[in-house]
Assembly symmetry: C2
Homo-oligomer: 337 residues x 2
């Protein structure tokens, strides 16, 4: 008679068994007579019964939901990590709640809702070190950081191998014959900016070149900051022959400024970025970059979290993923032609 959704008991009544037997059937228990099972399944089918996820969570004490907190949801790199994480989570029967927290206060509130109120079983945090937000996360809660300082061995993290990626990017410019290689970094308070700066320095040093601090400008990941960086070099009267921008957006800003200033890329200025963002191959000229596999990072973070939840692996791990050099037209062999 009830117009609302049928429960396990309704099904039981219909099938002439106890509600517990129905529970066994929907949970795939072995201990059910094939015939009984058939009856129950018929009743389920007939009544259109679907178990309530909430009731299950209640009884089992777990939500089968993970959360991912990101500075925002629209940045391509973040969105890609989230998509990778979501796909992996769903594959294992979990859901992913993705939220954005622009500032530490929003982050704190979010963590309280999510973790404090037991809304999720585990947490993935993207860019936790951009500010001090990581301090708000309760200890002992299943947690994986993405893009975090991989130096800290007490926590689980998945990130690009920033030092190595920067090293390889710089090596690429060196191999093209460049010796005046400038660097445009992300915010230096972020660990990955620091790590990438270190990789850059190591490559130069190994090549017997000095690291010139005036050849390093701090940006903020935006195209505008890349633009500004090139302007700064020009004002100093010292335009390098090559620039390594720590992400593609800033690289694009550099190229944009170069165009405005009548500097030809790549003949007068070589540019390499990091990410391989969409349309990087459509830039003018198409951008050489270190491609990182963001969905993979999200996927690995989710796997790590799931492992923790299933107590498979309790050792904190720091996973560093590689990037792949994609040579396009924004870098060119200086020796050649």
């Amino acid at each position: 008679m009830s117009s609302s959704r049928p429960t396990i008991r309704d099904v039981a009544r219909q099938a002439g068994v106890s509600h517990q037997t129905v529970s066994r059937v929907i949970n795939g228990s072995e201990d059910v007579l094939p015939e009984t099972r058939a009856h129950v399944e018929a009743a389920i089918e007939q009544m259109g019964y679907r178990p309530s996820a909430i009731a299950r969570s209640m009884a089992r004490g777990q939500t089968h939901t993970l959360a991912c907190i990101s500075p925002n949801l629209t940045d391509y790199t973040f969105a890609s990590v989230i998509e990778g994480a979501e796909t992996e989570a769903r594959q294992h029967g979990y859901f992913l709640l993705s939220s954005s927290a622009a500032d530490p206060e929003a982050f704190r509130a979010l963590v309280d809702e999510l973790v404090g109120h037991s809304r999720v079983d585990g947490l993935i945090v993207i860019n936790p070190y951009a500010d001090k937000r990581y301090e708000y996360i309760p200890r002992n809660f299943p947690l994986v950081f993405v893009g975090a300082r991989s130096h800290d061995e007490g926590i689980n993290s998945v990130s690009l191998d920033d030092e190595k990626v920067a090293y390889e990017a710089t090596r690429h410019l060196l191999s093209m014959g460049h010796t005046q290689i400038a660097l445009v970094t992300g915010p230096m308070e972020e660990d990955c900016s620091q790590d990438r700066a270190e990789g850059y320095a190591r490559a130069l040093q190994e090549a017997g070149l000095e690291v010139d601090p005036t050849m390093i400008i701090e940006g903020d990941w935006s195209a505008t900051s890349g633009q500004d960086a090139l302007l700064s070099f020009a004002e100093q009267g010292r335009v390098p022959s090559a620039i390594f921008a720590q992400n593609d957006r800033m690289a694009m800003g550099v190229m944009h400024a170069a165009r405005d200033m009548g500097i030809d890329v790549p003949t007068q200025l070589a540019v390499i970025g990091v990410d391989d963002m969409p349309l990087a191959s459509y830039f003018d000229p198409p951008l050489t970059t270190m491609r990182q596999d963001m969905p993979r990072i999200g996927q690995e973070a989710t796997r790590m979290l799931l492992d923790i939840l299933q107590k498979k692996n309790n050792e904190p791990r720091q996973l560093k993923l590689p990037a792949q050099l994609v040579v396009r037209q924004s870098t060119l062999d200086k020796g050649g032609d």
Copy 2:
């Protein structure tokens, strides 16, 4: 003694009241003596008690969670809608579960999990008409479509006023003195592509121009398809003086192809897009486009859904949002100079 989270009863015991009184306090009921309230709040504070969202959902029969299903999470337009929706949802104490469903089968499975298993109270679906996926959604479930055919008056939807936006874009090109205006559409099975084609046609007709079918090419929203479109026109030997691409990515493809073919934008070919995607102002030349406010669309969709849940408004509504012309350098006055 128990090492696990304190419950409402633990707090009650500590405060020397019944668990119901604790419930009243955490729910902000008026009917509690200030003194009693103080005791309870002290106990809550002291024990670090936080209500369980799951138990609440169980008892109240609602999850305070909404879901948003999108073809993917990385496309800038989708991600922006989701971010707008998530922000609005959180502002009202709701959470947003965003999932991607690439194909109808994945969509069906997702709806079953989300709606069938009562995981969420309401649903936002982005681009439901890309295929027949909308058929899988149960009737009477709180639902809002985004980017849907607004012609259907039986459903709730929020979308761009596609016909009008296309009309205005075309008008802009006309006002620049163009008479040979080509159109690159999205997939014609999507309603917004059709609507935008209609707006284009109306503008031409009002200007006394004929709609030439050979000047209309169907793309798939990708930059590549924009590129191909211009190549097709060239092969036909009929390169128009202006192109209206139904999104920025295709517009960028058109400009890229033009560069390769030695066609100068904007002097030989004017290009206008739709979206105002990030970096549109960094293209070469910077792209003229119809800017749409995607976060706003997500926000309005969420409001609509929340209204439905609170039974404030049961009349199906179709909300159409405007776009704003942003003139940059990819279109230029033909008469001018």
